[in-house]
């Protein structure tokens, strides 16, 4: 299990991978990917009980993760490859023709580590509930994790799923919401205010935790706390405060980098802020 320092070093490399992936094809979503880097790094290198090779779709005896906001595929692909699901070199194929690394993650091209297509928002929580119910039927006491964007919570299906998970006591489930307050058309307050998310999730019957998503110590300890809250009759949700573009100064504090790739000059400027810790692909 990696130390905080090691996790931070991995996260730095993951951020480099994100910038280089989206730059290479001049498309993709760097902002949310950078914001969720610390969370996914901690999850895959510290929290999850998982076996990358050989990849097993059913994942019995393993913790499962579902990325519901599929557009942050660059961070997902980087973390999956860096933790051994597929060769890191394959990050070169991101969004290119005949690649397993589609613009949004899919099982269709059989990329190890991906268990469900995502991209059309709002579907991942329901899927995760299904996987969690399967685990209960199979007497498998491992856990199911999800990640959602905060803008994604505007989708009605999320609230159908939220109602179900609490009512049916799906308590082997830890959902995380990337509360960066940004979406494509502007801030979430400007586009469609989410109101008080803590009150909403509590009212739906969830156990609500908070975390500073760009502080590795907070991420690791909150995930541990979340695990200890499972099995008590309630699903757990972590409201994770992050900054879109985290780690690259000129990408932070705005929704502008949601789905825009850096040019050559911006890439160089970004990479200069991120030490190459594990070796670029």
């Amino acid at each position: 299990m990696a130390s905080i320092h090691e996790l931070q070093r991995i996260a730095t490399q993951v951020r480099r991978d994100i910038l280089r992936q989206v730059h290479a094809v001049n498309s993709g979503h760097p902002g949310g990917s950078l914001g969720c880097t610390d969370f996914l790094t901690a999850l895959y290198f510290h929290t999850l009980k998982h076996t990358p090779v050989p990849f097993d779709m059913d994942g019995q005896g393993q913790d499962l993760f579902f990325l519901s906001n599929g557009h942050i595929s660059p961070v997902f692909y980087s973390v999956l490859s860096r933790s051994g699901y597929f060769p890191v070199d394959e990050l070169k194929t991101f969004r290119k023709l005949n690649s397993r690394l589609q613009g949004h993650p899919t099982t269709h091209e059989k990329l190890p580590g991906v268990r469900m297509a995502s991209g059309s928002l709002g579907q991942g929580l329901s899927v995760a509930i299904g996987a969690a119910l399967s685990k209960k039927l199979n007497k498998d006491n491992t856990l199911v994790y999800t990640l959602h964007g905060d803008g994604e919570l505007q989708e009605g299906q999320i609230w159908e799923a939220a109602m179900y998970a609490a009512a049916k006591k799906v308590d082997n489930l830890i959902a995380t919401v990337d509360a960066n307050g940004q979406q494509i058309d502007g801030s979430t307050d400007h586009v469609l205010s989410l109101g008080n998310l803590e009150s909403k999730w509590q009212a739906f019957g969830w156990d609500v935790l908070h975390m500073d998503g760009n502080n590795m110590e907070s991420v690791v300890s909150t995930l541990e706390t979340a695990k200890s809250h499972t099995g008590k009759g309630k699903p757990v949700v972590i409201l994770m405060k992050t900054e879109m573009g985290s780690g690259v100064d000129f990408m932070m504090g705005s929704h502008k980098w949601h789905g825009v790739a850096p040019n050559d000059e911006q890439l160089a400027k970004g990479l200069a802020q991120l030490e190459e810790t594990l070796g670029d692909y």
């Binding site: 779709m57 059913d58 994942g59 019995q60 499962l64 579902f66 899919t106 099982t107 269709h108 268990r115 469900m116 297509a117 995502s118 991209g119 059309s120 709002g122 579907q123 991942g124 929580l125 329901s126 899927v127 995760a128 509930i129 299904g130 996987a131 969690a132 119910l133 399967s134 685990k135 039927l137 199979n138 498998d140 009605g156 299906q157 159908e160 799923a161 109602m163 179900y164 009512a167 049916k168």
Partner: protein, 318 residues
């Protein structure tokens, strides 16, 4: 008047689904069932009673139900979802497209109350577009059995098929004429009556009407071939081509829109490989309305008389 086809009882196809699901529950521990607040209507109550730990009531939240079903395949379960055909397709199309079809998940989407024969509830519930919606999804299997026995057999058969399936059935009691022991083969058409003058390809509730039409045609000296296309996708192209190359013309009959239905699938085959006249018995670009099933089938041109007319029109165009 000629009578070639008889039946012993009238039953609803949805009860065939319920009976098949119960049998599956007893024989296959991986089978689970999900329902969005229509357990009685879908005849899933027997399964729920006998296997409560494998039954999942999702409430009136169909999108969530489809997502949960997709997720349950991870871990080896075979989920059967149940709600009305309208709520099984149009309402949850994107969920089926992404989480089931594109993700290649082994979910069986089971849909009752399809078409006009839902009756008095009217057009909001009478979906006539579901076959088209579902057959457009890559690798989705689309099945529309004709009676109780065939629906039961189809329900059992699809559990052994690995991949997404749309199983469509209905509400009213209709003649049950398929032999109870007839094996259901996905993608294999069933030849019900041989003939040489016209091929009638029927699906679902229209199969019985096609048989009755063939009897009436016989009295007029027309020898119609009747083929039950219970699997619309993959279509049994060989059966279509073999029949039409013999008869020289065809009629399609379905409780669905003309656009996107069985008729269009047959037209694709004929236009590519064997251009011959084809007449459609289907709803023509219209919503349904309230009424009894029988009244609606007459008003919207889906009755035995319409099949007879279509057969004569097809023959005249030879």
């Amino acid at each position: 008047m000629t009578t070639l086809f008889t039946y012993t009882d009238q039953q609803d196809t949805r009860s065939g689904f319920g009976a098949g699901l119960l049998e599956l529950g007893r024989n296959n521990p991986d089978v689970v069932a999900l329902c969005a607040d229509l357990t009685g209507s879908l005849k899933m109550d027997a399964f729920e009673k006998e296997f409560p730990e494998r039954f999942f009531q999702t409430g009136i939240a169909e999108a969530n139900m489809i997502g949960i079903a997709a997720g349950m395949t991870i871990g080896g379960r075979i989920p059967f979802t149940g709600t009305f055909a309208n709520f099984s397709t149009g309402r949850v199309y994107d969920q089926i497209r992404q989480s089931v079809a594109y993700s290649g998940k082994n979910v069986k989407i089971c849909a009752s109350h399809a078409g006009l024969t839902l009756g008095e509830d009217g057009a909001t519930h009478q979906i006539l577009e579901d076959i088209g919606l579902m057959k457009m999804l890559p690798h989705m299997v689309v099945i529309n059995p004709c009676d109780f026995n065939q629906t039961k057999a189809a329900t059992i058969a699809i559990a052994s098929y690995e991949g997404p399936v749309y199983l469509r059935f209905g509400r009213p009691k209709v003649p049950n004429f398929t032999p109870a022991d007839q094996k259901f083969e996905i993608g294999k058409a069933v030849l019900l009556k041989e003939g040489k003058d016209v091929s009638i390809f029927a699906t679902g509730h229209l199969v019985w009407k096609a048989l009755k039409a063939a009897e009436a045609l016989m009295d007029k000296g027309i020898d119609a071939e009747v083929i039950n296309i219970h699997t619309i996708k993959p279509l049994d192209e060989a059966a279509v081509l073999a029949s039409v190359s013999k008869t020289g013309c065809a009629v399609s009959a379905e409780e669905h829109q003309r656009n996107g239905g069985l008729g269009d699938s047959i037209a694709q085959v004929l236009s590519r490989k064997l251009p011959k006249p084809l007449e459609y018995v289907a709803v023509n670009d219209s919503f349904g309305e309230s009424g009894t099933p029988e009244e609606l089938m007459v008003k919207y041109g889906l009755d035995t008389a319409d099949i007879i007319k279509a057969a004569e029109a097809a023959i005249a165009r030879k």
